[in-house]
Structure formats: structure tokens, C-alpha cells
Amino acid sequence: MEYVSAALHIIGDWTNLGLLAVGLVLGSLFGVLPGVSVLTAVVLVLPLTYALSSEGSIILLIGIYVSGIFAGSTTAILFNIPGDPQNACTAIDGYPMTRKGKAAKAIGAAIVSSAIGGLFGCLVLILVSRQLATVSLAFGPAEYFALTFLGLSVVSGLGVSSYGKTVLSVLAGLLLATFGVSEVSGESRFTFGIEILNSGFNFVPVIIGALAMSEVFEKAGDTKGLTGKYSGKAFSIRDGLPDMAEAKAMLPAWARGGALGTFIGALPGAGATVAAFVAYGVERAVNVRRKFFGRGEIAGVAAPETANNAAGMGTLVPLLALGIPGGGVAAVMLSALQIHGLQPGPLMFISQPVMVQVIFITALIANALILCIGPWQARYIVRLLTLPSYLLYPAIAVFCIVGAYSVNNNIFDVWVMLASGLVGAYLRTHGYSVVALVLGMVLGPIAEGAFVQGMIMFSSPLGFVSRPLSASMIALGVVFLTLPLLLRAFGSLRSWSKGANLSASAD
């Protein structure tokens, strides 16, 4: 308790409180725009941490990190432009809610879900970080491959019109992820002698293009736009806060999203984007209102938002418990701690107990403060919906173009974004799943790396089912993958037997 009280005393210092506030504002600013990620924000402020105390540095970074993960959901919901890749899934149901005039409800759901996910992840971090880190270290190539297989399988239910087209979209996404220099052998694949293709396709311009730019292309013919879908009155948390019925509908999504998000976040290399997609896919497969997913279902906003914030906290598990950064932001945090002579890991809990408590309590406070930051941010952004389409869409297009450009500071990514916009518009009108394609691109490198490593280890694909954890995940994936086919077969058999009975009775 004395460590907790010492930590509270440090956080309660005006300078540190100010740093937390600055972090939260900076995170929401960086997170809301496409192309500039939370990672960019923490990298940019890292030099500033030299001048700060170790506690002040980590408080600032946690503030940026927590609000940055949430912030991108606002633009994903309002304009179909995810600020960060981890918010891409939120747009699938969030944007249709905006089109139905339920923008405030969607944002309210995202705010509450993010706070719940973050707080859940924090509690796991505080209570079982060492145990979870041990489990995450037991994950070998077989388990990583099984996890990606499971993630991709659950997404097979994402397709609105066709199961086969969704599977094809996932495979196309996986194939697009193989473009460029292979991580296995260093050979170039599908580059056609074009040098810039050696680095492959970055999935951020693809997400911006496939989700946002395709929408701009589509709306180019419709001059009405979103005007009139939102009343234009100031956003109030009272408008958006879920009522009891909505909270009840989101409860399973919060539970599943929180658990999945924290676990996937704790796996090195997986991260919040994978967590959000997997949580959405699982929710879409098992939720009682799964038929309404993709058309503006509130649980479709809750699941990915809970998962990405929980994963944000999960990423800190291997950092604090083992000293291994689980992702880019955790690596920057590790650097910030090392700058001040601190080394995260099991010994930190003994040698720096107050610092550990500062991290835990700051994360808790920052996640709770999403409930204040969210409405503040949404209040201004939501007003943009009242703009006429001739002002709104050119501005969105400029943001998409600049966002894609700023990923690697080259025009090639902008062309990729525009092409993805065209392809996305085509896929959408022909019943293919854009989200499944993007998920394939996100999970592709992890899946390939794990598959090749596994094949080298086992010399046979059967090796992937030789370990209990990977075998169970693959079995679950096979169930999800074959479920639509089996249901169809069952339906056909039932109608056939019904027809046979009818003809028998007629005879």
C-alpha cells in the first residue's frame, strides 16, 4: 500500500497531472487523423522525455498511447476514415450508424467500450501480468499460425452476400501482403522489376483507400452526402451514453472483446489491430444479433473498441513482466525508461515498485479519462457532419491523400490509396468484403512467418496440430470456416427431405 500511496503522490503532482493532460490531448490529436499514428506521436515526444523525470516521461507517453488508441474511432464512425488501423473495424458498423443518424450513439458506444476495454486490460496487467507473459512466451510458430488461422476463419462470416467471395477476399489480402522482399529468403516477389515494390504494400494506405476513398468516390455522384443525417446540435455525452438495453446488448461484446484484446495484445508482434479484427470477427460469428452486423449494430462498434484498448494495455504485459516490448509503442516506452536508467522486467517489480505502481495507476486514470476526452473530441468533430457535401468530401479527399502520403513520405502510397479506393468501390458493389481483404493484409506477414517457421520446425503441416493449444485453435477455426457450408448443407438436406415427404404423401 505504501507504494500505491507514493505513486499517487507522484501522479498528483501538478507537473505530472499537466503532462498527463498534454499526453491525452496530443494522443487524441494524432490518433484522429489518418497517416499519423500513435507510434509517430510517441516517437516525436521521445526527445522531450530527456528533460523530464522518469515518472513524468512515462505518464506523458501513457497519456498519448491510451487516448491515441481510442481517438481514431471518431473519424472512423463519422467519415469512414479510421484514424489508426486499429480503428478500421469500428467503421464497419460505426459508419452505417452515422448514416442512419445515430452518430452520437455510435461515438458514445465507442467511448464507453474503449474505457471498459482499457480498464479491463489494466486490471489484467496489474493482477496477472507475470502469468500472462509466461503463457505468451509459450506461443511458438504453431500457435501464432493457429491464431491467425482462427482470426481469418471467423472473418469468413463477415461477408454480407457471399461466403465464397469473403474467403476469396481474405486470400487476396494475404497474397497482397506477400508483395515485396520476402522475410524468409530476402528474395523479391511480385515486384515486376519495380524498385518501390520491394517494400511491398503498406496496409495503412490500403485501409484509407478501401474504406474512406471508396466512400468519397461513391459519394461523388450523390450531392446530398451526409447533410441532414445529423441534427448539428452540439454533441452531448447524454445523447450518446448507452441506455440499459444497449449496455445489455454490448455486455457480451465487452467481455469477449476485453478478454481477447488483452490476450492478443500480450502476444509480441500481434497488437491492437489484430485484436480488434479478431474480436469483431468472433462477435460477428457468435453474437445473437449477428445478422445485423455490418448494417449499424452497436455491438459491432463495442467489440473492436473494447479489444483495441484492452490490447493496448496487453502490449505492456511482456514489457513490464519480461522486459520485452510487445509492439512499437512499447519499444518507445522501453527506450524512455532506459534513458532514465530503468530496465523493465521481473526485477523492476522489486527494484522499482513505485515506478511500477505509477505505470499501473496512470494507465487506470488515463483509460477512465477517455470518458471525458472522448465527448470533448467528438463535440468538435461531429459538427463537420453539418457541412454540405461539396465542402466535406473534397476536404476528406485531401486528408486521405495527405494521410497516405505521410506514411512513408512518398507519392507511391498515394497511388496505392487511390487504387485501393477504386478496388474497394468495385468490391463493395460486387459483394466482396473489403474488411476481409484488409484483415488478410494485416495478418498476412504474421501468418506467413509463423507458417514458414513451423514448416521448418515440423517438416509437415501436421506439426501444426501436434501441440494442444494450436490444435484447439485450428479446430475452432475449421468449425468457423466450415460452419456456413454445413449450415447450407443442412438447410438443403432439410428442404430436400421435406420435398421427398411431400411427394411421398402425394403418392
Binding site: L168, A220, Y390, L391, V398, V402, G431
Partner: protein
């Protein structure tokens, strides 16, 4: 019955393909190189595409029928293609004109195409967007935007 036959055909194709794939992958001395994963993906894509060609329900066959476009739809399509062309020209112009100048030209043209009345407001909106995005990315986020040969950058500090 035709639906059931198609379904049985689908299941058989999948089982045979998966069997061949598993057998091939289990052959001793299999070379694990950079082509293995893309090959598997291409094979699976081919199988899925083949399965998509098998019509299962009569209703699905009629899904892609092209409806005759009305006059309004033709106008909308024209506007869409026009916008796409403008976006392409804008992206082509970015490295040559720089972000500021290209955006100043791009916004009024697209706004006009989307039905904005031709007023001074168009220029004001274009200026506000260009300056706003420039300030946000170049100054606040320190993300360099295309400067162009005119080096159309304003020194703020």
C-alpha cells in the same frame, strides 16, 4: 436436386484440393522458400474462384443482372468518373506544383463539381483547407508535404 449436386461437387472439390495440398506439403525434401506461401495462397484462390463459378441456387444466377441505368444515374456516373480523373490529376500535380498550390486548385474544382455555387467562398474554403492541413501536418506533426519546385513552404518560426 441440382442445388444438392452442386453442394456435393463443392465439398468434393474442397476435400480433394485439401488432400492434394496436404500430401504435397508433407513430401520429404520439400523446399521451403519464398514461393511456398504465395503458391499455397494462389492454389486456394483458384479453388475458391472455381467454387464461385458453380451456381448453387437459381436466385444467385440472376444476381449480377445489369439494370438499365436511368438518366440521373448516368449523370451521377459521369460525375464519379470526372471526380476520379480530378483526383488522379491532383496526385500527379502534387510533386510538381507542391501541396499548397495543387490543393488551392483542387478544392475549388471539386467543390464546383459537387454543386457549390461559384463564389469567393470557394477560394476561401480552398485557402482554409490548404493552410489548415499544411499547419497540422507540416508544422504540428512535422510531416513533410510535397514542396514542389516553387518550394511553396511558409516559414512559421
Amino acid at each position: 436436386m441440382s442445388a444438392n449436386r452442386a453442394l456435393i461437387a463443392e465439398i468434393l472439390v474442397v476435400l480433394v484440393a485439401v488432400g492434394i495440398l496436404l500430401r504435397d506439403l508433407s513430401v520429404s525434401g520439400l523446399t521451403i522458400n519464398s514461393t511456398l506461401w504465395p503458391t499455397i495462397l494462389l492454389v486456394l484462390m483458384g479453388i475458391t474462384a472455381l467454387l464461385l463459378l458453380i451456381p448453387v441456387k437459381g436466385a444467385e444466377a440472376g444476381q449480377d443482372t445489369v439494370e438499365k441505368a436511368s438518366g440521373r444515374e448516368v449523370d451521377e456516373s459521369r460525375r464519379r468518373y470526372c471526380m476520379m480523373a480530378i483526383y488522379a490529376v491532383y496526385v500527379l500535380a502534387l510533386p510538381f506544383l507542391g501541396f499548397g498550390l495543387a490543393t488551392l486548385l483542387f478544392i475549388p474544382v471539386t467543390a464546383r463539381l459537387l454543386g457549390m455555387p461559384l463564389t469567393l467562398a470557394q477560394i476561401a474554403v480552398a485557402l482554409a483547407t490548404a493552410v489548415g492541413v499544411y499547419l497540422l501536418f507540416q508544422v504540428v506533426f512535422n510531416v513533410p508535404l510535397p514542396a514542389g519546385p516553387l518550394n511553396f513552404h511558409i516559414r512559421w518560426f
